[in-house]
Symmetry: C2
Subunit: 564 residues, 2 copies
């Protein structure tokens, strides 16, 4: 695979591009605002403002001494590395405490929901089948093929785990009322992420940074000491390390005492040339601090450095240049989501090798597939999510989950799909919608009145590869100051996205793993959830006029909620 | 002051250059080894060695995620900062445990010694007087003038504190025997540092890094698990934060309850354009974590941002752009040591303002002066150090301190000075010596057979501004691998320098502070030592053939001792 873009490395968003790709160039602004307007409000800070200059120096030096950096992989030499700071908000952004607490409280149910979805192969196939059949060379098909191969070989590991992140924004149904601060406000889910979830370490650091900056303002008597209570600590990295350590120990406990004598490790499968090493290395370092060996292996090197032992299908990994093989306890995926990674047979073979093994996958391939947009759309249909949650959550919890779903339509030939096609073809109606490719992760969305023209170019036979989601319209105007690498300083209205991180571990009934499960809510497979934790949060803020929350395009910034 | 060189920022070494400056160009290698030899053994790593490539990637990414970086101040824009990694050793370097423990045990006495020296004005003047009288425009004179002004105004703060670092190398008297591993080995003091002591945070990080790398080698079965016991943890930064916090509280306790209501802070006086923010910012962040406000003020801005209140001479500081003034509890100097900082009257006025105030100085100006090389030379004369230590340490401790002193001669017209002049003029005799300017800190030394030619250019009337020190000749050949920014990878023999960090706080008898004290050991001023702590270590390693331990010239590298 070629060197990924900054965005790929940092956001895990732009890589799953179905052909034809969206128009090149910067992301489109909100239809009502021209890009020129945005540019005119971004600037270098005023040299006459020494307080602002001091704030920026404090921010940049905090980032430098805490590793809130991007590795400039283009400038790496064999012996030297350079780095640049990541985009951040200069002040924490107000966010209602009740919605923050609501999102955190929801994570337990969200984790439940997606674990149960990921263990219902029949239902997943009912959702993903059309895409698999329609594009045998596509990513969904590649992943499903891998799954089928593994199922046919027989599943040898009944424990799975995952790092999940559910993203939310505040929403007011009436956009005009919202802009004047009125209307009913709700918390809406943007998407659910299961694979190579990003931002944990940056979010930890930005929490510490905003605490330090607020302490300064309080000391300078420009803010009230009680404001400190409105900031949250964050321990994503430590919690993920704890979760992965537990998964490692579960694997080790499955082994006979004799087998436990050999060296074992967690294998972090990574992309080459990753800018965003702050997402990977701190977890690796934290695991070693817990005496859990953790090695990184590049996706393209898995077939060379890993092998499956016959019989028990233990996965063995050999570090570059080492004579020692490690038995892999947990495969932690930070790669394997990019269609280009499956462009040749090596990609599929790589995933098969990893998935077929006895290692605990974080996450397994069905959990990966459960994060595709059409799954989100299907769960939003009446009673579907409730069917998965019934018996495991209260009706109140089910209702809370349901309450976060936006209106989402498939773009197929069902009645709902036909309704979606009508909206998507209409310049005026489509202005309230976003078109998303049916893949996992964010990015490469088509917004509002760009949709009709985009779909016209795609060709109707591929429309089913997209879903149409009502735009989330944040309710209030919040002023913010964002410090970005590409665009300088932005002053203006901002909106934020809250992500809640969870760690989940589950166990399938022996012998059932990956096998056919009953369809319909009465015969769901009985997955035992061993761990269901809410581990921390991420918070990103962007100019209100920009639809895309990309951190590296110069719009989205790491930030903290200032709870109200 | 202009932008300092990388070396100035990182090593605090090269700035005190008496005219004429040493020859330009790279530092001279050991007389017996040509620079070309050194260059030929520095190289980019072999791409055929995947284990080494992996090790280097592990090192560079550890540095990036832990802030072991230099800020590329030349490339800073108003909104963006870039950074590059600091030089490190790829493996910890063997160092005998008994000498490490000996150096640590010595710190208590070394702290004692220099606190008592710094509080004996008469004795200090007897040592520094010739230089003060000989060069009224020099740094020593500037500092002494500041001291006299403060003394005449009357001292209003009887508590002082300091962060000290005593540097050592292993030494074998017989250099030829030493190279073959023979001869008696002793620990010798290179120098004592009192002002803007560097390397604390880098040394903390490199300790964590080498632990992580060793854990990997142990996991890969190429090293024994018992090796972990040979590595030391390091908590310099946390300990310095604790010390400064205590000094802050001592100051606050001196105040009336009413006065304590106003905002107060520790003032870190810094140089502009500092590459090495990792030496400053983590201490600032640590203080805020302890709820102790800490602000940085650039040396050149002190007169604008600080003022002395009449009467009590409280020092007030106003952050840039802030309407709030802070009463300064502790002045922590990370600037004020560079002759260029005193080049105009503003420099002296800056130091007077800070020194004359009620703030606790870390350290005060006599403690600053006590770190000059001629003090080190004078203490090495028979019975002098013992005179300061008598009554406060055991004879055994005094003897241990004495044992670390190298043969040091003044270059004046005393009998010892005439002996030194004879050696320094002789190409053969001088080969065992280093010529050091009589200033604090390291750097700008003239080595071995360069000395006769250098002195011939200086002019005899200024020879008294130097001391002549016997070269420390490390006893064994140790193989090492150093990773440097400028020179790439160095494989070859290395030598290391161990620094032991101390934190000291003391109190003078009321009214005596800075006043004349009795000369001679029977009437030493009775300073009460409130805190005498050994807080951590630094360890730097360089190619054996290079005399200079500069980290940024591409020779010296942060490292850890591997205790034997």
């Amino acid at each position: 695979m070629d060197e990924p873009s900054l965005e790929e490395a940092l956001d895990r968003t732009s890589v799953n591009v179905p052909a034809p790709a969206p128009p090149a160039g910067p992301p489109r602004g909100h239809a009502r605002v021209q890009d020129e307007d945005y540019a005119s409000r971004s600037s270098e800070p005023d040299p006459e403002d020494p307080k602002l200059a001091r704030l920026i120096a404090d921010v940049r030096d905090y980032q430098l001494t805490h590793g809130s950096l991007l590795k400039l992989v283009r400038y790496v030499t064999p012996t030297q590395t350079s780095a640049a700071s990541v985009n951040v908000s200069l002040y924490p952004t107000p966010f209602p405490g009740k919605f923050y607490r609501g999102a955190v409280a929801l994570q337990h149910s969200m984790n439940q929901l997606y674990v149960r979805v990921a263990n219902d192969e029949d239902w997943l196939y009912s959702v993903l089948g059309p895409q698999i059949q329609g594009d045998p060379e596509g990513l969904t098909s590649s992943l499903w093929d891998v799954h089928v191969k593994c199922r046919e070989a027989g599943v040898v590991q009944d424990v799975g785990c995952g790092v999940f992140r559910s993203d939310y924004m505040l929403h007011a149904e009436d956009e005009e009322a919202a802009l004047s601060g009125g209307g009913m406000i709700t918390l809406k889910q943007v998407e659910m992420n299961h694979l190579s979830v990003a931002g944990a370490y940056h979010a930890d650091n930005v929490a510490g940074m905003h605490r330090y900056l607020l302490q300064k303002r309080i000391a300078e008597r420009t803010e009230d000491p009680m404001e400190l209570r409105r900031l949250l600590p964050n321990t994503n990295t430590a919690s993920l390390v704890t979760g992965l350590t537990r998964a490692h120990r579960v694997y080790r406990e499955q082994e006979s005492p004799h087998d436990r004598e050999g060296p074992s490790c967690i294998l972090m499968v990574v992309q080459p040339f990753n800018f965003n090493i702050a997402d990977e290395r701190p977890i690796e370092h934290g695991l070693w601090d817990e005496d859990v060996p953790c090695y990184r292996c590049e996706w393209r090197s898995v077939l060379m450095q890993c092998r499956l032992a016959d019989g028990e299908r233990k996965l063995y990994f050999r570090p570059e240049g080492s004579g020692t093989e490690f038995e892999v306890s947990v495969t932690y995926y930070r790669a394997g989501y990019d269609p280009r990674e499956y462009a040749d047979n090596n990609g599929r073979e790589t995933r098969v090798l990893l998935e077929m093994s006895r290692a605990i996958k974080c996450p397994d391939i069905l959990t990966h597939l459960a994060t595709f947009k059409s799954v989100q759309q299907a769960l939003a249909e009446p009673d579907v999510a409730e069917g998965f949650l019934a018996g495991h959550t209260t009706e109140q919890q089910q209702s809370a989950v349901r309450g976060t779903f936006m209106h989402i339509l498939p773009l197929d030939t069902s009645p709902a799909g036909m309704e979606a096609r009508r909206i998507a073809a209409d310049l005026e109606l489509s202005d309230a919608y976003v078109l998303k490719p049916n893949l996992e992760g964010g990015g490469h969305n088509i917004y509002r009145d760009d949709i009709p023209g985009f779909l016209a170019n795609v060709g109707e036979e591929r429309w089913h590869e997209y879903i149409l989601m009502k735009m989330i319209t944040p309710p209030t105007s919040t002023a913010g100051m964002l410090l970005t690498a590409e665009e300088g300083l932005y002053h203006g209205d901002v909106v934020s996205e809250l992500g809640v991180l969870g760690f989940v571990m589950w166990k399938r009934p022996r012998g059932s793993a990956g096998k056919i499960c009953g369809k319909g809510k009465d015969v769901r497979p009985d997955v035992e959830i061993l761990e269901n934790e809410t581990v921390g949060w991420t918070f990103k803020t962007k100019p209100r006029d920009v639809d895309d929350m990309s951190v590296v395009k110069g719009y989205g910034c790491f930030d903290c909620p200032l709870l109200s």
